[in-house]
Amino acid sequence: MKEILKALINVFLKMPQGFVVTLKHVFKKPVTLDYPREKKPMAPRYRGRHYLERYEDGTERCVCCGLCAAACPADAIYMEPEETPNGERKAKVYEINLLRCIFCGFCEEACPEEAIFLGQEYEFSDFNRDSFIWRKEDMLVPHPRKDNPFKRIIRRVRRVYGVPDAAR
């Protein structure tokens, strides 16, 4: 007798309560996004794909010092330096294996020339493994610039040494 009463209460009182919750959500704005048509803005410090910067005159900032590769815990960066015709140092080969990369951002912290930084993009799917090895040209593309607090000391030294930061 008691069990029958309990079942009746569940059916006629508790269940409609649940339906009310569901019904409420039908009229609410959904929390999910219609990915890939819609994309969520990332946090300001989110670390996505790598970019290489240029100076304003178009020369590459990267001098191929190898500190990013040394800092990289996943050993994802490979580089070979070369000498430019006027005796400066630049990268002949600069590759990042995005399959190895763990997006820790150590390369960005290590870079004394503010040449590399991690952007906001995170979509890397492709059909073959080779396309995940990004070359210098893949990363030397226009990008939104990010300010980085780690670089203050370097900037000051560069000023002391007489090399203007942007114009050189």
Binding site: V63, C64, C65, G66, L67, A70, E80, P81, E82, E83, N86, G87, E88, R89, P112, E113, I153, I154, V157, V160, Y161, G162, V163, R168
Partner: protein
């Protein structure tokens, strides 16, 4: 080796306390050296263990009790009872201040600096320095005019880049260049804040030791272009190795990268017994030939008239079959072999066993550039060249006698030793030559004897010694055996005055410890037996070896090893016995040496040759005749790194692995066995010589060794025999042969090595080619004036045997009618001017107009 400590008088010792540790050192030691000896580290920039202290950088500050200020430990002598602290707070503050001053002008360009990662300043700043600078003004910058670069790099030598912004003015480069190498092509200019290191005006830093300046630079001010912007030092691995281009076997260290299978640079691995940490440029840049694009990649076989690449199996089977055919049809007497004395012990012993056991012939030799070879095995010259010699003994000698040797070109390490002995002691150094040499700048006096009068000079020395000290034993017996038998006529013939001869004889008699070095002017002379006999007489009369050492020094990395392993037709009897015991037999035939093999080839009596790593066509005197000789061969197999004049004539060419590509042992001129480790995997399809020989022997079904172990044990047993030949029991006859001179050819030609070119192979090293790319005619200023030529003008040099054209280089050392021509260049062949029959090569030169 230990005599340096036993023969010297007891030195007063002092005891001091460093960091609560009691240290006892000989008087005269600096505090820095005392601390280093006790295992206490003191940072330094300008100090170098082999140079005198200057105290320029002041980073080696220590606190000494009862002294009011901090003292530079490198220039403070340790005294009794001194109490030194190296890690106190005041010392640390002092270091910090010094670093701050150094960094006031030192740029923060570590990312682009090749020294980054192994920089003393970087490490010390990290350990002691401030993390920021208080000098908030612009840094001093030495801008290179006309170069649109922010890097300010200046090329001051073929291989050296200078960045003056980075320089901390420790003067180590200038000091080592002056003190240790005797070169003045780099210096410090201007004063005060504008002071800079630079090449001497109008000059390039291109001396034979220039690479060392880069190595000892504590910052990245001097870098060399072979390492410049190639790789970061922390990505490389190191392999200890040996320099195989010089006979002293300097110890070197290769920096290589395993994944790329490539060597990136060489630095020295200091060994105080041999090289003192200085290596020649040839040793430093010689590794580049390994990565030359001209390396042989696959075995080549002559099919028709062309050499075509084939597989190893085919080439090896063909060689084994052809050798067996010739052995069957004509006998093993018709097969000969030549091996390069720069090969390792394993290869040389395999070669010896291959020729003697597998083929059964005794025609084998390792001497590839000697003019004439001793006919008898127990000749005077073999005695002289087998004498023991220790490089480190030069340091403590009080008389150093260099006879017939341009040391910088022949034995650079020994030259630096003599220089060091002069810097830190008071030895009497004499340089005796038939022409003026660069290395005479370490000598107290330089004597020039008339061309081709070596034995007369030595006889004169003997006669002068008898006059100085008539009591010398057997003087009468000696006088009967030599001619001229009186001092004055000997002095007149050789062109050195009787007084000078007497003074020289006096120093030889009175010297307490003598180092007597005999060089190439004797070793490569046609009449070297006569000269060696005269030297044996001198030693018997004066007793040089009882008070020191006297030897004709070996010229190649493994010459002594080859001799000890018996790679000559008539090896030392002990070696022969050991080989007979090991192999259960030894070829009965007498065998021919190099010269003998060549004349047999010319007669058509020798039909097949096996050549390992040698290029006799380019290196042996009388180019035309040798080339003609090789054309008569039925079958020639050559293993080499590159295609050479000799491989061009070969039926089978096998790619040989270089000394960096396998572990090998080499015996230097002192008889010291040293090991070169394998740095990289063999490139292309090359193989070490011992592996090639093992393959051929296996294809002939006569395996050489059952295991590498067996090979090593055999080598151990053979090397255990002593090959030092006893001095002759009596005075030897010395009758000077007549010198043939044609008035049409008035100028004496000296053939030797350029300091930046060794054997025929270093032409493939890109850096060395920058120093010297082809042969030149070095002539004295008098001759240059006479023929109205300047640096770079072309002249034609003609001898009776050939002629060639080469650019002029006016010498700074040569005097009189003498020209020098470097040998072993592939384009301008010095050996085409030379005959095997003449003692001196007389030439005439004329200017090429236009």
């Amino acid at each position: 080796m230990s005599t340096s400590t036993t023969t010297q008088p007891a030195v007063k010792m002092v005891t001091l306390t460093i960091n609560d540790q009691s240290v006892t050192v000989p008087k005269g030691t600096t505090v820095l050296q005392a601390a280093l000896g006790a295992g206490i580290h003191i940072p330094t920039f300008c100090w170098h263990p082999k140079l005198k202290s200057v105290g320029a950088c002041r980073i080696c500050y220590v606190e000494i009790e009862k002294m009011p200020k901090l003292q530079v430990s490198c220039a403070t002598e340790a005294t009794d009872g001194m109490v030194v602290k190296t890690e106190s707070d005041i010392v640390k503050r002092g270091r910090k201040a010094v670093l701050e001053f150094i960094l006031a002008n030192h740029p923060l360009d570590c990312p682009t600096c090749d020294k980054g990662g192994e920089c003393d300043l970087q490490n010390l700043t990290f350990a002691h320095g401030l993390d920021d600078s208080r000098f908030d003004f612009l840094k001093r910058r030495h801008i290179v005019p006309g170069v649109p670069s922010t890097f300010d790099d200046l090329r001051i030598g073929p291989e050296i880049m200078l960045n003056r912004n980075r320089c901390i003015l420790c003067y180590k480069c200038v000091r080592s260049n002056k003190e240790a190498f005797g070169e003045y092509d780099i210096g410090a200019f201007e004063r005060g804040n504008a002071m800079e290191i630079n090449a001497a005006p109008g000059e390039q830093v291109a001396n034979p030791f220039s690479g060392n300046l880069v190595e000892i630079c504590p910052v990245g001010a001097l870098t060399n272009s072979d390492w410049r912007y190639k790789i970061r030092v922390w990505l490389t691995q190191t392999t200890p190795s040996i320099d195989i281009f010089n006979s002293s076997g300097s110890n070197i260290l290769f920096y290589k990268e395993d994944h790329k299978n490539r060597i990136f640079r060489t630095i020295s691995r200091r060994n105080d017994e041999i090289d003192d940490g200085w290596i020649t440029d040839v040793a430093r840049y010689g590794y580049q030939l390994v990565h030359s694009p001209d390396r042989l990649q696959k075995p080549l076989m002559k099919k028709g008239s062309k050499q075509v690449p084939v597989e190893w199996e085919e080439a090896v089977a063909f060689v084994a079959r052809r050798l067996a055919e010739i052995d069957d049809t004509k006998g093993c007497v018709c097969i000969g072999g030549l091996a390069s004395p720069t090969l390792d012990l394993d290869s040389l012993h395999s070669f010896s066993k291959f020729m003697r056991k597998v083929i059964g012939t005794n025609n084998l030799d390792f001497r590839i550039d000697y003019r004439s070879l001793p006919e008898k095995p127990d000749s005077a010259f073999s005695t002289l060249s087998s004498q023991p010699f220790t490089i480190a003994e030069i340091d403590t000698s009080d008389v150093i006698f260099v006879f017939g040797s341009d040391l910088v070109k022949e034995h650079p390490n020994e030259y630096l030793r003599i220089r060091k002995a002069r810097n830190f002691g008071r030895p009497l150094v004499y340089s005796v030559n038939s022409f003026n040499v660069k290395s005479a700048d370490v000598a107290d006096r330089e004597f020039i004897y008339a061309p081709g009068t070596e034995e007369v000079f030595i006889n004169g020395l003997c006669l002068a010694a008898i006059e100085e000290n008539p009591g010398l034993s057997g003087a009468d017996g000696l006088k009967r055996k030599i001619s001229p038998a009186d001092l004055n006529s000997a002095a007149k013939t050789c062109g050195v005055s009787a007084e000078d001869l007497k003074a020289l004889a006096r120093t030889l008699i009175n010297g307490k410890k003598i180092s007597f070095i005999v060089g190439d002017q004797v070793s490569l002379s046609r009449d070297r037996e006569v000269i060696a006999a005269a030297l044996c007489n001198l030693n018997r009369l004066v007793g040089i070896t009882s008070r020191g050492q006297m030897a004709a020094l070996a010229r190649y990395a493994d010459s002594i090893g080859a001799e000890k392993l018996g790679l000559i037709p008539n090896p030392h009897p002990d070696v022969k016995r050991a080989l007979t015991d090991l192999w259960g037999g030894f070829p009965e035939m007498a065998g021919y040496h190099t010269e003998g093999m060549f004349s047999q080839m010319l007669k058509g009596e020798l039909d097949a040759m096996v050549i390992l790593g040698a290029n006799p066509v380019a290196m042996y005197p009388d180019h035309e005749a040798v080339a003609e000789t090789f054309e008569k061969l039925d079958f020639l197999v050559v293993a080499d790194l590159f295609e050479t004049e000799t491989t061009a004539m070969a039926d089978v060419v096998l790619p040989l692995a270089s000394w960096t590509e396998f572990a090998g042992r080499y015996v230097n001129l002192e008889g010291r066995i040293q090991k070169a480790e394998r740095a990289i995997k063999p490139l292309y399809e090359s193989k070490p010589a011992y592996a090639i020989l093992a393959d051929i022997a296996a294809a002939a079904r006569k395996p050489l060794f059952s295991s590498a172990r067996e090979r090593e044990e055999e080598i151990e047993k053979v090397l255990a025999c002593t090959t030092v030949r006893p001095w002759p029991g009596d005075y030897l006859d010395v009758r000077p042969p007549a010198i043939d001179k044609d008035p049409a050819y008035p100028i004496m030609l000296i053939i030797g090595d350029d300091p930046h070119h060794r054997c025929y192979v270093t032409e493939k090293a890109a850096s060395l080619v920058k120093f010297c790319s082809d042969a030149y005619i070095e002539l004295s200023p008098e001759l240059a004036e006479k023929f109205k030529v300047e640096d770079g003008d072309a002249v034609r040099v003609e001898s009776k045997y050939g002629k060639l054209m080469a650019p002029v280089k006016v010498s700074r050392v040569l005097e009189g009618d003498v020209v020098f021509l470097p040998r072993n260049f592939s384009v301008t062949r010095a050996n085409s001017l030379v005959s095997r029959k003449a003692r001196i090569d007389w030439v005439r030169i004329n200017k090429v107009s236009g």
